[in-house]
């Protein structure tokens, strides 16, 4: 094993390389492009024996990925944000084909207004597609999760595609030390793709997308996907165990950090959870019994693990780097449903932060902990809070004032204001 500095994007490419992928359909988008550039370079130099094809859109890319996986070859692809949404129709479709492959999504906030920086609304838009989802907090996890994802996707009990998610910029462009597993070891762990009946050939046509009417067969096929996804919980634990034995690193479906004697916890996904770890350490130094619970697996939803980690705690601050417009934080909603009616459930507080890459300050973690403690003491959770400061609004007001002047200059004054 070699330990070296890699970006999250390079780590994802290493994952695909070590898994020995056969086919990579590609389409560029910031902040993902470095992944396919790296794979293209290795394909050129012969370091990676695979076929890389650039498609004309993400919609075609997802189609090609599903179609290739249906022939029984190992497929890897990557996208981000608008690209994932452009492929959305096909994400649902190829999952329905039960075509297993791995897609890395580099999270980036959705338009409009357009941005390049991360939040999780892109990946959560694919939440119900049938793809399993692994969310990473470090570049090491990105590499390891790609390997885990192939095992998970290709397992006969699952046979669904998997998305490995990392945050744009905070992981995609950030280098940190990553241990690259030995090639033979990694290959031994991932194994070969035993596609069974799934060997689509030009000479032997198979229809993968049948029409079913009347609801009953449709319900059957969709519910089978649901059961397969749920099987992912058990299969994930098996492959994570095996990975720990082979490569020495354990990646639980739900990471828990300093939770054992904790009265309070932060709950969040993605790379900002590392900041929460730092806040936990500092709050512990200040005498606050707090920990962190971080689901890595979001689909299937590791409900039992989360209950195990949270029941008996006094309070949990759920920090969502997403917003379901007209409702609120998605993780908060999901967690509330997992804990509803359970004995000794903690009081949940809801925070929305980090939209479009907006930074979370250490002081904000300390304040969220304080608010959660007060909520637990009073038994009354405050309304959800957007992490947004007076200073930030002042900046926006300044820009709006300039826009208003321009509007006036153009004779577009708004008489209704």
């Amino acid at each position: 094993m070699t330990r070296r500095l890699l970006t999250g994007n390079a780590a994802a490419a290493w994952g695909a390389r070590l898994a020995g992928v056969d086919y990579v359909p590609a389409f560029p988008i910031t902040p993902q492009t470095e992944i396919i550039e790296t794979l293209a370079h290795w394909t050129d130099t012969g370091e990676l024996d695979c076929r890389l094809v650039t498609l004309e859109s993400e919609h075609s890319m997802a189609t090609a990925a599903g179609a290739a996986a249906a022939t029984g070859v190992r497929v890897f692809t990557a996208t981000s944000s608008q690209g994932l949404l452009y492929a959305m129709e096909m994400l649902y479709t190829v999952a329905g084909w039960r075509a297993p492959f791995v897609l890395v999504n580099v999270s980036r906030g959705l338009s409009a207004p357009i941005t390049l920086e991360p939040d999780h609304n892109d990946i959560l838009a694919a939440r119900d597609s049938g793809f399993l989802q692994i969310h990473c907090a470090t570049c090491q996890e990105v590499l390891d999760s790609v390997l885990l994802a192939f095992r998970l996707a290709e397992d006969q009990r699952v046979r669904l595609p998997v998305i490995v998610n990392m945050d744009g910029f905070y992981l995609s462009f950030t280098r940190e030390p990553v241990e690259i597993p030995n090639g033979d070891k990694a290959r031994g762990f991932v194994g070969t793709f035993e596609s069974g009946m799934q060997k689509f050939r030009a000479s032997a046509p198979v229809s993968q997308a049948v029409v079913v009417l009347g609801g009953s067969p449709y319900s059957y096929f969709r519910y089978e996907m649901h059961l397969a996804s749920l099987n992912g919980l058990m299969v994930y634990d098996e492959v994570a165990d095996e990975f720990a034995r082979t490569c020495g690193r354990r990646h639980e479906a739900v990471e828990v950090f300093r939770t054992e004697d904790a009265e309070f916890v932060f709950v969040m996904i993605g790379s900002f959870a590392l900041k929460a770890k730092d806040a936990v350490d500092r709050l512990r130094d200040a005498g606050v019994k707090i920990g962190l619970v971080r689901p890595r697996l979001l689909r299937p939803f590791p409900e039992a693990r989360l209950r195990e980690a949270l029941l008996g705690k006094k309070g949990a601050a759920v920090i969502d780097q997403n917003i379901s417009l007209g409702k609120g934080g998605v993780l908060f909603t999901e967690l509330a449903s997992a804990l509803y009616g359970q004995k000794d459930a903690p009081v949940l507080t809801s925070f929305i932060g980090g939209l479009g890459g907006r930074d979370l300050a250490p002081e904000e973690f300390y304040e969220m902990a304080a608010i959660t403690r007060q909520a637990a003491e009073s038994g009354q959770a405050p309304p959800p809070r957007l992490l947004y400061t007076e200073e930030e609004l002042r900046e926006v007001r300044k820009l709006q004032a300039i826009a208003q002047v321009e509007r006036g200059r153009l004779g577009l004054e708004d008489k209704t204001r």
């Binding site: 409009a112 462009f173 806040a279 930074d359 904000e364 304040e367 947004y388 609004l393 209704t416 204001r417």
Partner: protein, 312 residues
């Protein structure tokens, strides 16, 4: 933990500088995080890159709010608020500016409580291509200022990170970096790791409840047409193309067509003219001019020179 920030312009090698320093730290036994930060990629626009280095695993992410060391590769950025060069500077932040001016000049200009140092340019920049080694020089200087990176770790970092550019380039970068490393001898180790404030006595964030604003105010619209012309993208230029009319053949359709920003127009006599308000200094005109009538002049030499211009 060390927290360092490099400021420069797209194309000046700030991402590379952060990688050179990051790898040098890593080779010296540190845990490292390094990353560039920019918007839509563009040459000459202000960008920054940062490095964190610690003896223990790093549980921080994203931009550095309170840097221990700020390195500025391009002094013209100091006066551009959007570049954020001085963001989060505290009395103990060391500021290093690559400049021909003396330390005292910058101290007086900036009036900062903390130490201000300059990294002198090795020679007059007669060759604009020398500018591309500024990133390595900045990394070398930073390595010495933190004082925990041995010279051979710096050299090895440069060989590893830049090997793909060939031996000649590696040699020039080694010269630039090690030269700057040696120049900073007097201030070796002046950068100190300062712990973050405790969670027991923190300043409360000033959170507010966002008020509802009507869609006529809260929709992300721009009301002014053709506003991009008002952005002086010429400020992004590090090198300026200058047309020599004595050599120009007036085949102006070549340079004016190939300019990706349409900044070259043709005057009444048929000579091309460059709009320096918007020319970003990509030098495509220079490389495509059949008569070799366009030369490149470093912006800091050309700025203010009345004679240099579009030709009239």
């Amino acid at each position: 933990m060390y927290r360092l920030r490099f400021h420069g312009r797209g194309g000046q090698g700030m991402k590379t500088a952060s990688r050179l320093l990051g790898t040098a730290f890593f080779l010296a036994g540190f845990e490292v995080q390094d990353a560039p930060r920019y918007g839509a990629e563009r040459r000459g626009a202000p960008i920054f890159a940062y490095v964190r280095a610690s003896r223990t695993p790093i549980n921080e992410r994203g931009i550095i709010r309170r840097p221990d060391l700020v390195i500025v590769a391009d002094e013209t950025l100091v006066s551009i608020p959007a570049a954020g060069v001085l963001a989060g500077i505290t009395p103990r932040t060391v500021l290093l500016i690559s400049s021909r001016e003396k330390n005292a000049v910058w101290r007086e200009r900036l009036n900062l409580a903390g130490p201000v140092l300059t990294l002198p340019r090795a020679a007059a920049l007669t060759d604009p291509h020398e500018l591309r080694f500024i990133g390595a020089a900045c990394a070398g200087a930073a390595a010495r200022l933190v004082g925990v990176i041995p010279r051979d770790c710096l050299a090895q970092a440069i060989r590893e990170e830049l090997a793909h550019l060939g031996e000649a380039v590696v040699a020039r970068d080694l010269d630039a970096a090690l030269g700057a490393y040696d120049l900073m001898e007097e201030n070796a180790g002046c950068v100190t790791e300062v712990p973050e404030p405790s969670a027991a006595t923190y300043d409360k964030p000033h959170w507010i409840d966002l008020p509802f604003d009507g869609a006529n105010l809260a929709a992300p619209d721009i009301f002014t047409p053709a506003s991009s012309a008002q952005v002086p993208t010429g400020l992004w230029r590090t090198v300026r193309p200058v047309i020599d009319h004595d050599r120009c053949h007036r085949c102006a359709w070549i340079c004016s067509t190939l300019c990706p920003d349409s900044t070259i127009t043709v005057n009444a006599e048929g000579y091309p003219q460059i709009d320096y308000e918007h020319c970003k200094g990509c030098l495509i005109c220079m490389t495509s001019c059949p008569a070799h009538a366009i030369r490149a002049v470093p912006e800091e030499e050309a700025a203010g020179d009345e004679v240099v211009g579009g030709g009239d």
